[in-house]
Amino acid sequence: MHIAVCIKQVPDVAAVRIDRERMTIVREGVQNIINPSDYQALSLALALRAGLGGTLTVLTMGPPQSEEALFEAIAAGADRGVLLTDPCFAGADTLATSHVLARAISRLEPLPSVVFCGNNTTDSDTGHVGPQVAEELGLPQVCGIFEVQPESLQTLLAKRVRDGYLETIRAACPVLFTVKGVSEPVLLPGLGSLQSAFSAGSIVRWGRNELDLTMDETGLTGSATRVWRLRAAPHRTKGEILTGQAHDLVKEILKRLEAMSLVEEEQIHG
């Protein structure tokens, strides 16, 4: 079985700060990481491959340094990486991003039976890319799974939580899954090694020419949306803000709870 996983390198949002004066993102000293739900997708893909055997290909679109994410994935056990990088890919919205990813997946040999994506990224957080890759490849999609197991040679059983229900879903291959909510994603150790990550030929680089894409199909020109402007989220003041001694502050909280009949009023003694 050939499994493909789409991952993205993102700044560690927990460490990103916003310069509200200049409306820019302060990235200095911020580490790049594999997007958390992509990391979870990779962990499910590795576990599935461990059970079924086969090849695991990891793809990422981004600037040249995104190669780091592929090294990390190969060190964890992926067989090869595809770096989709080209200056004209920059500024892509999800429509243009999914086009490049889908085109690259369609060029893999053999065609993957299962494609994994993270459910959403921490930087732009649309959750669109998985379904849009599935659409372009004509694959069915199952979004938001946290577990997947083979059922037969051609079918998989996946689990997800949706609207308060735990769903078990049967999907026939080929299929695309998006992954979220894996409580403890682990990249199985010992399958890969840093040595294999850095060995020749484990990573290929494809740009616009290799993928036979026109300028109009990629990057900003291939995007349907434009970010018109960025602005700071408004700070509005709604209620009262109190400072003071902790005892007095807690009394104020209790007053609110009393007003809502959540606690009984204090009996006045003596």
């Binding site: 659409e135 735990l166 769903e167 049967r170 909510g181 434009r226 209790l254 609110r256 959540l262």
Partner: protein, 331 residues
Amino acid sequence: MDRGTCLVWVFGDYADYFQNRVTLQLIAKGKALASELGTRVGVVVLGEDIGQYVMEYVAHGADVIYAADNNALKDYDVELFTAVAASWVEIFRPEIFLAGATAFGRELFPRIAKRLRTGLSADCVALEIDRETGAFVQTTPAFGGDLLADVVTPVMRPQMATVHPGIFRELPHDPFALAELIHPPLPNLPERKIEVVRRRKEKARRASLTDAGVVIVGGKGVGSRANFDKLFQLAELLGGEVGATRPAVNAGWAGEERLLGQTGKSVRPRLLITIGTSGALQYTAGIRGSETVIAVNRDHSAPIFGLADLGIVGDADRILSLLIEELNRRL
């Protein structure tokens, strides 16, 4: 009745109808946008035995209903619904197409947008027509929610957006409202490739967070796992549930199932006490439906105070401990 154009569409997501009011909220907002554009608002309703939902949507302001009542559409299916909705868009050419950012809406709309080669913005918190340019401006939280991005789709149509539940207010139920009902032709329907083999209610404790009357939320400012555990005591004393922000979940203080916000659950309790949370939009998107918000934070300039009914500037652990002590004494 007026049989003018109907260029603002809403996807009729009726799953969990009595809890999930986002379709009704979007009909109201869609109607306001339509009146600015000199057109009407329509709702796309796909399924089997959908009469009750059609009636509800009409009573809540829909001018036009585009309906397919068909056994093949009985259960939600992304590929089937994409095929129908996209083919209807090609027939009627709406300018705007909205859906609630529900689990299904967020899975369906990217696929429809891709098929139509048009733009889609995600989980919007505001929608408006710019008076100067006439552009349909879709506002979406960006970069972890500290910034808002105003997104436009300049050329392609329709301009599509998923919208965060609880942002807009539904119109009151009008049992005498009338609407135009259209049954457009169905395209060739694809086969169902995805089958839900089992569906059961999640463990009570997990599911009840979204229905809880009192929710206590902890963030990074709670400081430690031991402190975070006190949130559970407080929740117990007030008959509530515990939620967590992304940093608290990442720190391992609470499970993913307690995550609130954009990538987690949305809650709308009577009372929400939020402790040690700075108030990034990524989180606050999930608590906007709360009736009363009490926020405790050490930093008086924390954005969370912007949406608190009562803001307490103080040490999270100290306040938490005293509050538990006091409640224990009284109960």
